[in-house]
């Protein structure tokens, strides 16, 4: 019962933020934000990734990643060959469009000889 004040504070904070959203990135009105549940950027096609990938695994493995289209295609292939993913049919290219656009290599740092500054 002594936790009541904490719970009220929590309910207030829930109005502003989702409990399952581990990321706290600054809002940028030009870019779609992350889905509170999966962390996926809510750009064109994101629901497809949620539908077909989230049944088995967290999408943190996607949001941590940066790959070009052919490597994303290889990932889907591996998921189908050994991890139990079913054939995706015509949505496969839509999924690849989404992954290529939102989780590309170029978003990731950088020349490895230049080590990121630490703070």
């Amino acid at each position: 019962m002594r936790q009541l004040p904490a719970i009220s504070a929590l309910l207030v904070s829930l109005l502003a933020t989702s409990p399952l959203n581990g990321r706290s990135e600054p809002e940028d009105s030009s870019k779609p934000g992350p889905d509170p549940l999966t962390g996926l950027v809510m750009a064109q096609g994101w629901e497809l990734v949620r539908t077909h990938c989230f049944a088995c695994h967290s999408l943190k493995i996607v949001t941590q990643a940066g790959k070009d289209r052919s490597n994303w295609a290889k990932t889907l292939q591996k998921m189908q060959q050994s991890e139990g993913l079913y054939p995706l049919g015509e949505v496969e290219s839509d999924i690849l469009d989404y992954l290529e656009k939102n989780y590309p290599v170029s978003d990731r740092p950088h020349n490895p000889k230049i080590r990121r500054p630490i703070y």
Partner: protein, 436 residues
């Protein structure tokens, strides 16, 4: 008002002192009971939140919604203290360097690496370990009681590290969890020698490898698929320090770490140290279980250009991990007085080898100063080191540490050779210090 309780199990937070936190006694509180209790409390949490927890069935055990933990930093993991969650299904979490300062890593600060989902039921009283494979003389099955009674108990501090520790620094980025520096620890493990059990069954002359099978489930929940089934060459399995463990630091293994039974091979990729194991096979060929082939825990036989495609037949299994070290005190970002010397502490380890020396630099590697390096408490335990540095003037510094192994091989200052899955990054650890 709805009553809810998060204990047991208790939730460790940054504020909660180490002494206060105790894992439930596995014997008295089987995991299945924990799980039911946890799920019941989830129902109550839902009423408190005033909203259903969508996908509650997907929430891994041991995770408490962040809102209830009153933290904005993702999930709090039952029994863990300050770990950074990289992935919640499967659960993977690493420890910030400054929380690894203990010479023997407490369970609350050991990283979690899962390939699949932990078993639903894990009852130590009914658990058995069966021994088989084409190169075993007599197949046998032991209860945990039999393992305890029939073989000599040992306790050893053994360094456990994920082969992907440091993956986050590779470019082009490798797929998988983006570990930085925290997928390593050196707890004291309690159990028996794997060798004693292998010899009790008898090893045929053609044996070359051992493999394990565990009770964890594949992410797809397909019972025909193994989440992971790896192993080590027979010579490594027969070493005095290769263990079948049921305890960590005197407590039963926690559910995250393989309760009730696991393997431990110090200095080798953590994936060789199977969790929740119920079967070990003695093989007459390299074990061919899940994640023994392809790019899993394998690297090119020769240096490759970053981003290259490497054919499967040119990949080899990672064995002993390379020399590496951490600065665990102070925490990066420290503000330090120019008038005072700064005391440093950390650990160094080198796979199957011993660390011969460690140096620190405050000038981006231009000059190095030898640190005091201790001996390992036993073979394959990490070694602790201390140093004291003085800063010439106020400003921003990085303190770097570089260890060298007994064969004279040292850590690179930059990221070493790229490989498709981003393994074996043993570049120097560094921390920031603001001197004023």
């Amino acid at each position: 008002m709805v009553e809810f309780s998060l204990s047991p199990p208790r939730v460790a937070t940054m504020e909660m002192g180490q002494a206060e936190f105790k894992l439930p006694e596995a014997k008295n509180l089987p995991w299945s009971f924990n799980r039911r209790r946890f799920l019941r409390s989830m129902g109550r949490m839902t009423s408190v939140l005033g909203a259903n927890i969508a996908f509650a069935h997907c929430m891994p055990r041991g995770l408490i919604p962040v809102a209830l933990a009153q933290s904005r930093e993702g999930f709090v993991i039952e029994g863990k203290d300050g770990l950074r969650v990289l992935n919640d299904r499967p659960l993977n979490a690493e420890t910030p360097a400054h929380l690894l300062n203990d010479d023997i890593t407490p369970a609350s600060r050991l990283f979690i690496r899962n390939n699949g989902l932990p078993p639903v039921e894990a009852d130590a009283d009914r658990w058995t370990l069966s021994m088989g494979g084409e190169s075993i003389k007599t197949a046998k099955t032991y209860t945990l009681g039999e393992l305890r009674d029939r073989f000599e108990s040992i306790s050893l501090a053994l360094t456990l590290e994920c082969a992907g520790n440091g993956r986050a620094e590779y470019y082009p980025p490798a797929g998988g969890n983006q570990w930085t520096t925290g997928a390593v620890g050196c707890p004291e493990w309690n159990g028996i020698r794997l060798k004693d059990v292998l010899e009790d069954c008898g090893v045929k002359r053609d044996a070359v490898y051992i493999g394990y099978y565990g009770e964890d489930r594949h992410l797809s929940q397909d019972p025909k698929k193994d989440a992971i089934s790896r192993g080590v060459p027979l010579w490594k399995a027969m070493e005095e320090q290769s263990m079948i463990a049921w305890g960590m630091n005197g407590d039963p293994l926690s559910p995250h770490h393989g309760y009730p039974l696991r393997l431990i091979f110090g200095g080798w990729p953590g994936s060789a140290s199977g969790k929740w194991i119920d079967r070990i096979v003695i093989r007459n060929r390299v074990h061919d279980g899940t994640k023994m082939g392809g790019s899993s825990y394998r690297v090119p036989r020769y240096p490759v250009k970053p981003g290259s495609e490497v054919p499967d037949e040119d990949m080899m299994i990672i064995e002993s991990l390379p020399v590496k070290s951490l600065i665990t005190f102070p925490r990066s970002g420290l503000k330090h007085s120019l008038a005072q010397p700064l005391r440093l502490h950390g650990h160094a380890w080198a796979g199957d080898l011993e660390v011969a020396g460690i140096s620190v630099s405050i000038d981006f590697g231009q000059t190095w100063q030898e640190a005091d390096l201790g001996k390992p408490v036993n073979r394959l335990a990490w070694q602790n080191w201390d140093a004291e540095v003085r800063f010439p003037k106020a400003g921003y510094y990085e303190v770097w540490a570089r260890a060298v192994d007994e064969e004279g091989t040292s850590q690179p200052m930059l990221v070493p050779g790229w490989n498709p899955k981003g393994y074996l990054n043993n570049s120097c650890h560094r921390i920031a210090v603001y001197v004023g």
